[in-house]
Symmetry: D2
Subunit: 445 residues, 4 copies
C-alpha cells in the first residue's frame, strides 16, 4: 500500500507545496518514506528520504523544488527498508529525456519481467516494481509516450494507481480491474490526481471523478485527454473500505465513513448481543462501534484512551517493565467498563495479538463480559496485489477456528460480519475480496 | 500548566525509565520542554531540553541517567521559550549538597520575593518561579530540609504541585488550597508522585491517594511520612476537569471522563435543541458531545476528521493556499453534515478563532443549521495561578455578549453550561472557579 | 578527481573498517560524498551520503556493514552535487547478481555510449560515467565477469582507476595510458587496492606494486591474477605530482614529496631572485617553498598562518565585513614579512584569485617586495580526463600574458617553472601534460 | 584555558558576527563549548552549546543574536563536560538587571568563596569559577558596577582575563599579575577586547594595547575609561609562548612566532647535535624546528604528514587494527628519514606518550638516529592557575630522569632548552614559570 499525488499547472511554479499537503493527507497510507519530483521547464528535480512528510521536507528543500508539474509518493513500511533506495518517485533518464514515476500497487509477473530485461542487459538499482515499469517504457521509446506506456502496461500483470511525469505531461493510469484507486480533482484550472479524495479536500481542490479501470489520463497544456484500454468488472480492494482509506475519503463514489457505520449496523442485524456499552478498538474500530451503538440502541462510550504523542523514536519498555504492566499507547477507562457487559467492536482481526492485549486490559479493569464484534469477515488469504498482509502462517483466521480464536483472545463471544453483510454495507459487489474468499481477479502465473 | 513526576526506590537503579513513561503519560500537559534528574548514590545527574519526551531522551541519554531517586518535568509552551534555560527540573547546589525541583504552579508574589533575594545579593539564571523557591530553601539551610521547605513555602503566596529531590529523599508538596493536583502511587515497594493518575496506569503502578492541600510528603528509606501545614477548603482548578487533564485520570477522586459526559448531559437539561446529529469539536469536544447525544437521544456522529500526523516542524501554508481553502489539520465529513441540523459541542470558547473556522467548514459542507453547545461557562478572567489563559483583551467572552459571539462565529444558536450545572457535573464545590466568576482563592498583592 | 579503495579478505568479516581508514587517508581527493559497499557471503550492503568520511559513517552504520570483500569511494565536489544520487560506489543488480563499482576517472565517449544504450532501452538514474560502465558490463553478462569487463572497457575511451566488487571477487582496472593511478597493497594475506599508497600506510598495509596501464587484477580465494590488455606509454596525470596527491604517497614509484622539493630547487636554477625569506602559500606551496629555500640558501619561514578549524558549515562574512578586512582562513605573520623582500612560492596558478588576495595581505603587512615563483608551468587547457579544472575562460594563463598576470596579482616579479624543469623534478616523461601543453593521450571524438 | 572576546559598538547592531569570527580565531584555545551573549537595547539574549564555533552557531541563531554590545567565550575540554551547563558566557539577572560574564582563568580560593556564599544562602547551578564571581558582584549591587567589580575581584585570589557585559557597558579586567592575557583593539570607532591579538587580525581590527595587570577597562558611549587596581610585576603564563597562543598573535607585545623561532635557535646554542635533517613534531614543533634548522644550518624538512580531515566523531580504530599499525592522524615521510640522522624538535613533553609513538614511527621508516630537542624545560609542576596540565603523577618529567625518559621514548639523545634560554628567547622575565620551576606568583591557601 502506498499513496500517490500528481499535479499539472499552467500557471503555478510551486506545485510542490500542493503535493506536500496532498501527501500529508495521505500519510496514513504509509510512513516509511516519501518523495516529491517536480518539472521546472524541462528540468526535473526531486527529493526523497525515509520519514514522514514533515520530517523529510524542511522549508529549504521545499523552496528548492520549483516547477509546474509534479508528482509525490508515500511509502508503506515493509521489512528491511532501511535505505532510501526504495523511496519513490523513481526518477530516470531515458532516450526521450526525464521520466518520474510514483506507483501504488504490485506487479505480479515482476520476476519474469525483470529476468527478461536482465537478459537484454538491464541493470537494477532498487527492489521496486516501478523500476521494471520504467525499463519497459524506455524499451518502447520509439513510440510516443502514450503508446510506450500502453505497451509497458500491457506487459504487466498486476495492479496500479500510477502517476507519471514527463518533461511536459502528467499521466495517470489505473489497473484494468481498478483494484487500486486513483481520482481526478481540479484546483482552479489545474488538474490533480490522488489515491484518495481526502487529498483534494485538504488542498481545497474539487473532486471531478475517479479514473476508470484500464483508463489512462494524459494531462498537458491542452487539458485532460482520456485513453481507454480494455477493462474488466471493477474490483476495488475491499480493505480500503474496511481499514485502509481515510474515513473522509470517497473511493469510486462510496463514502468510507458511511460504509463503516453501515457495517456496524449490519453487524447488529447479523450478531446482536445484550450489553451495557459499545466501545471501539482505537482507532479503526471507532466508526463501526458508533454504527453498532446506533443500530442496537446500546450507549456508545469511549473505553480506551490513546496517547497522542507516541513518536517513531520512542524507547520501547524493557521486558521487566512490560511485565509490571506498563501501558504506553493505550489506557482503559476503568469507570466506563467496570462491572459492565462491554461490546468491543473492531474493523478486522489479522494476527490477533493487539485485540488479545486490549481485551486483557479491559478485563483487568473489571468488565463483567466482553463481546467482540468484527465489522468484516475473517482474513484467510495473503494478498499479492499490493496490500501488506502477513503470510498465511500469521493470519490467525487461516490457522484457527472462530471458537479457538475466541478462547485465545479471551472474549465471551466473538462474531464476524459476513461477506454478504459487508458488501451490502459497502453498497455493491465491485470489490476484490481475495483476502476474504480467495477470489483474486489477477492470478499468479 | 506543567506536569511533574517523582519516584523513590529502594531497589531499582533505573528509575529514569519509569519517569520517562510517566512524563510521556503527562505529555498533554505541555510540549515545550522536558527534563529528568536522578540521584545515583548522592551523585545527581540530569538532562533537559526543548521538545517532546521521545525527542529529548534518546536511548543513550536514558542509559546515562542511572539512580534510585528521580524527578521529571513537562513544560507547557509560553511565549519566548526558545532556550533550554527555563526547562525543569531545576538542579542546584547549596550548603547541604544537591537539590532538584520540578514545579507545576505559579508564585503570585514572585517579583516581591525575587526583589528581596536580589537585595541580599542573589543572582537568577532563569525566569522560573522555581528558582525563587530554590533560593528560599537554600536561605534556610541551617534547618533540616523539611523545615527549610516549610519555611520557604510559608514565604510563598501561590499554587504548586511540587516534587523535590535531595541526595537521599523525595519530597512532594501541594499548595494550601489544592489548586494544583498531586497524587501518590506505588509500584511494588516504590513510591511515586505524579500530577495525574494516568501516569500511574501507564507505568503499571497502583493509585494510593491524593496529596492533600497543604500537605508535604517525605519519602526516604523509612517509607512515607506526612507533614500537614495549615490548609483551606479545597479549590482544585476547574479547568483540569473541563479541558486540561486526561480523560482517564482521576483528580481528587473525580473521574475526568465521567465529569465531561455529565457536563454534556447537563447541557441538554439546560439548553436542549432540536437537531439531526451531535458532533464534537476535536479533540476536547468529543466526550461532552457523547454525553449530549446520550442525554438528548440524538445520534452521535463524527463530523470532523483530524490528521494524526501533524508534526511540530510542519510547513505552514502560504496565505494564497489558505485562501484557496487548504485544510491541514481537520477535514469535515460532508456526508454526515450535508443537509443536517448539526449540534456542535465543544468544551470551552477562549479566543473564539478555532470554533469560527470549524463552523465555516461545516457550513461549506452543506449543514442546514449549526447549534453550538459549550460544556462550560464563558471564560471571563485571565488566570494568574498557573493556567496559561490569554489576557482579558483576548478572552472573547470578556469582550462581547453571547449574541455578539454567536454572530461572529456564525452559529444558529449558542449556549453555555451554567457554573452551577458544571459544578453539579463535576460533583461538588471544591474547585477554583476564578476564570469563570473571578473568585480566586489566592489574591494578588 | 576521486579516490577508490578495495579489499578482499579470506578471514576478516569487517573489511569495512579498513576501507573507512583507507578512505579517510584519501579524503584530500574529494570532500563532497563518500560510500562503502561490502559483500557478506553474497549479500551486498552499502551506504553512501554527502559529507566527509567521519560524518557519513557513524558507528552504527559501520557495524551494519559487515563482509569480507568491500570497496569504497571518495567524491570530489562538482557543481550541483546536492543529492546523494551521484555518490559512489554504484551498486546494481544484473543477470549474474550484485555488482558494485567505484571509479576515479572520466569516460570521454560517455554521451555516445549512453545514447547507444538508451537506444536499446536503458534507463539512467545518475549522471555518473560509472553507470555507463555498469550497463556495458551487464550487456556482456553471457561472458564470464573478466571477459565482460574487458569488453566493456574496450568500448570505453577514457581514464579510470576502477575497483569492482562481484559476489565473490574484487577486480581492479587501470586505463591503458595509466592516466589514473591504482596501487596494490597487502595487509597480512589480504589484498588491497587504492588510488594512493598513503592509504596503505594509514591502515598498516605493505605496498606491493602499482597496477600497470591496461592491467586488470582479479582477486579471489585463489589470490591475485593479472590480465594484461593492450597498453601504451604511461601518461600519469602530472597534476597528481604538482598538487593533487598527498606528499607522503608514491605514485608509480615516484615520491610526491621529493618531486615537489625538487621542483622548488629547479625553480631556483631557472628563476633565481634576491630575497630575505622564502614562504609558501598554504598548504600546497609549503613543500616547493622548502625546496626553493634549500636551493637558494635563503631562509625558509612561515608567512601565513591558517586557521585549522574552518568547517563546511562556517558562516561566510558579509560584504561589509569583507571590506573591513575580515580574514577567516589565513592570517599573515607580520613580523616575518614587514620590511622584507619576500619570495612567495606556490604550486600553481589556476584562476589567480587566491594568490591575488594573499599578495595583498602580505603587502598590507609591510613587505618591501614580493616575488612569486610557481613550481609548475601555466595551466592553459581545461582537462577532460577527470581533473576538475575550470573552463578556458576561467584559466587565467589562457587569457592573459605573464606580465598581465603579474600586474593583476600585484607581484614585483612572477616566474613559472618550465615543463622541462618540472618533468626533470618529477623524474621522467611518463606523464600526461595535457593541461600544460595540450598534448592529451586520449582525444575527444 | 579558554578564550574571550568582547565588543562595544555605537552604530552596529550585529556585533555577534564580529564575535563569531573573533571566537573562531581563538578556537585553538578550546574546542569543548562556546557561547555568545548580546545586548540589544537592554534586552540580553544568548546562545551557548557544546561544539566548535561553526557547529554551535548556524545562520538562524546568528540572525537572532542582535545587539550593539556582546561577549563570547571558547571553552577548553575538561573531564566530564558532557552538558552545556558549564558553557560560558554566564548570563544572570541581579538587582541591577542583566549581567553576562566570560572568563579565562582560575579562582584559587574558589571553594572558600563558594562556601561563604552558600552560608548566606546562595545556590549554584554550575561548576564554574565564574558563577562565584557573578555572585560576588551581585553581593555588592549597592555600589555602582565598577566598584562592585573591584570589590568582587578584591575577594578573589586567582587569574583572569575577564569580559563583563552589563545592559550599557562592556568591561574588561586582567588579574594583578597579568598571568592571563587580554588585549584592546579598535574596529573603526568600536572597541574590542580579546584574549589574543590574532582575533583582531581576523576581524580586520587594529591592535591598540594590552590591558595591564590589575587594570579594569570600562567601555560605554563615552569611550574607554581605565581603572588601575594594585598590580605586581607582570607574570604572563609562559606556556602561552611555548604552546598555547597562536603563532600570529602578540601577547604583551611579544611575537609568539619569533619567540618560538628564537627558542629553536637557542636550543642549537645549548644542545647542538650532528644530523642530516631537522623535522618538527606536528603541529607545535614546526616553528622551533625551523628555528633549529636556521641556527644549525642543517636542512629543514617535513618528516610527518598530518591528515587534515580528522573530525570529533571519527571512529577510533580497534585494538586489533592498532596493533596492525593503523595510523590515523600522522604518516611518516619515509623518503625524508630513511637512513638519515634525524633531529626531531618539539615544543614540550608533558606525558611523553605522543612523542614515543612518533619516534617509533620514524624509526620504523628507517631513520639511522633520532635526536630529540625540546624547546622548553621539563614540565615538573601541575598548574592551578588555569592551564589544563595533568597531575604530578602524569607529568613524566616529575617522575623520571632525563635519561630514563630518553630510553622510554627510544631517542638516541634528548635535550631540553634551559629556563634561561627560554626566557632569553621570549625576551624577558615577565613570565609565570610555575610549571617549570614551581615559582607561582599566586599561592594556594
Amino acid at each position: 500500500m502506498s499513496g500517490v499525488v500528481g499535479i499539472y499547472s499552467k500557471e503555478r511554479n510551486n506545485v510542490s507545496n500542493i503535493i506536500y499537503y496532498g501527501l500529508y493527507a495521505l500519510q496514513h497510507r504509509g510512513q516509511v518514506s516519501t518523495g516529491i519530483a517536480v518539472n521546472n521547464n524541462g528540468f526535473v528535480d526531486y527529493f526523497k528520504d525515509l520519514g514522514l512528510v514533515h520530517e523529510v521536507f524542511p522549508k529549504e528543500t521545499m523552496e528548492r523544488l520549483r516547477g509546474n508539474i509534479g508528482i509525490g509518493h508515500i511509502r508503506y513500511a515493509t521489512t528491511g527498508d532501511t535505505t532510501t533506495v526504495n523511496a519513490q518517485p523513481l526518477v530516470v533518464g531515458y532516450r526521450k529525456g526525464a521520466l518520474a514515476l510514483a506507483h501504488d500497487g504490485a506487479v505480479v509477473n515482476f520476476e519474469k519481467l525483470r529476468d527478461g530485461l536482465e537478459d537484454q542487459g538491464a541493470i537494477f538499482q532498487s527492489e521496486l516494481d516501478t523500476e521494471v515499469i520504467a525499463n519497459l517504457i524506455a524499451r518502447y521509446h520509439k513510440d510516443n509516450i502514450e503508446d510506450a506506456i500502453i505497451k509497458a502496461l500491457d506487459d504487466i500483470n498486476g495492479t496500479y494507481g500510477l502517476v507519471i511525469m514527463t518533461t511536459d505531461k502528467l499521466i495517470g493510469a489505473r489497473d484494468q480491474y481498478g483494484v487500486k484507486s486513483l481520482s481526478i480533482g481540479k484546483l482552479g484550472e489545474d488538474y490533480i490526481l490522488a489515491s484518495e479524495t481526502c487529498a483534494f479536500d485538504t488542498i481545497g481542490a474539487e473532486f471531478i471523478r475517479d479514473v476508470e479501470p484500464g483508463e489512462i489520463v494524459v494531462i498537458d497544456e491542452n487539458g485532460l485527454e482520456s485513453i481507454r484500454r480494455k477493462s474488466y468488472d471493477k474490483k476495488l480492494c475491499l480493505f480500503e473500505i474496511i481499514y485502509f482509506a481515510r474515513p473522509d475519503s470517497k473511493l469510486d463514489n462510496k463514502s468510507i465513513y458511511l460504509s463503516r457505520i453501515e457495517a456496524g449496523k449490519q453487524l447488529v442485524v447479523e450478531s446482536p448481543v445484550d450489553g451495557d456499552i459499545v466501545i471501539g478498538a482505537p482507532d479503526s474500530g471507532t466508526i463501526p462501534a458508533i454504527g453498532y451503538a446506533e443500530g442496537s440502541k446500546i450507549p456508545y462510550a469511549e473505553g480506551l484512551i490513546k496517547n497522542r504523542y507516541v513518536g517513531r523514536t520512542f524507547i520501547q519498555p524493557t521486558q521487566e517493565l512490560r511485565e509490571q504492566g506498563v501501558r504506553i499507547k493505550l489506557n482503559v477507562l476503568k469507570e466506563n467498563v467496570e462491572g459492565k457487559r462491554v461490546i468491543l467492536v473492531d474493523d478486522s482481526i489479522v494476527r490477533g495479538t493487539t485485540i488479545k492485549r486490549t481485551i486483557e486490559m479491559i478485563k483487568n479493569a473489571g468488565a463483567k463480559e466482553i463481546h467482540v464484534r468484527i465489522s468484516s469477515p475473517p482474513v484467510l488469504h495473503p494478498c499479492y496485489l499490493g496490500m501488506d498482509t502477513p503470510t498465511r502462517e500469521n493470519l490467525i483466521a487461516a490457522q484457527m477456528s472462530k471458537e479457538e480464536i475466541r478462547k485465545l483472545i479471551g472474549a465471551d463471544s466473538l462474531e464476524y460480519l459476513s461477506l454478504e453483510g459487508l458488501l451490502k454495507a459497502a453498497g455493491g459487489c465491485e470489490f476484490c475480496t481475495g483476502c476474504l474468499d480467495g477470489n483474486y481477479p489477477i492470478h499468479k502465473e
